[in-house]
Symmetry: C2
Subunit: 80 residues, 2 copies
């Protein structure tokens, strides 16, 4: 079994109102010096088999088809 | 300026209906051998200053107070 982590983040320049809200909330809680905050998603997946190259290709296809919106998001695949 | 990434994931044993839905969707799209899928959140933060120890302490406090629900979630702090 292969364990993988996929991280999906917004591309630079794409507005992130959720991140902005967190930024303001942190400042409001008294944390000084908080700059830009951006929120993304992480997926932890388990895949059957032991072929890491196939797993990586599959994971990239999963990102393109379902996990990420490649118009506005980047993704990174990490295999443990 | 310090760049940091905070990853928040559900603790083991906590039900993740969103992850389950993704699991079914991936299987429905024709991806074989997809086991458990769990979804989490990732925050990319910029902090002023250069004191990494202080930044790490601040980030842990931010997680405890705002970014994570420590009853059901774990967090990991990574400083770039």
């Amino acid at each position: 079994m292969i364990k993988a982590r996929v991280t999906v983040t917004l591309k630079n320049g794409v507005l992130d109102p959720q991140g902005k809200a967190i930024e303001h909330a942190l400042t409001g809680l008294g944390f000084d010096g908080v700059g830009q905050v951006r929120q993304g998603k992480v997926f932890d997946l388990e895949l059957e088999g032991a072929d890491k190259a196939k797993a990586e290709a599959d994971l990239k296809a999963m990102c393109d088809k379902l996990l990420a919106n490649t118009v506005i998001e980047n993704y990174a695949v990490e295999i443990a």
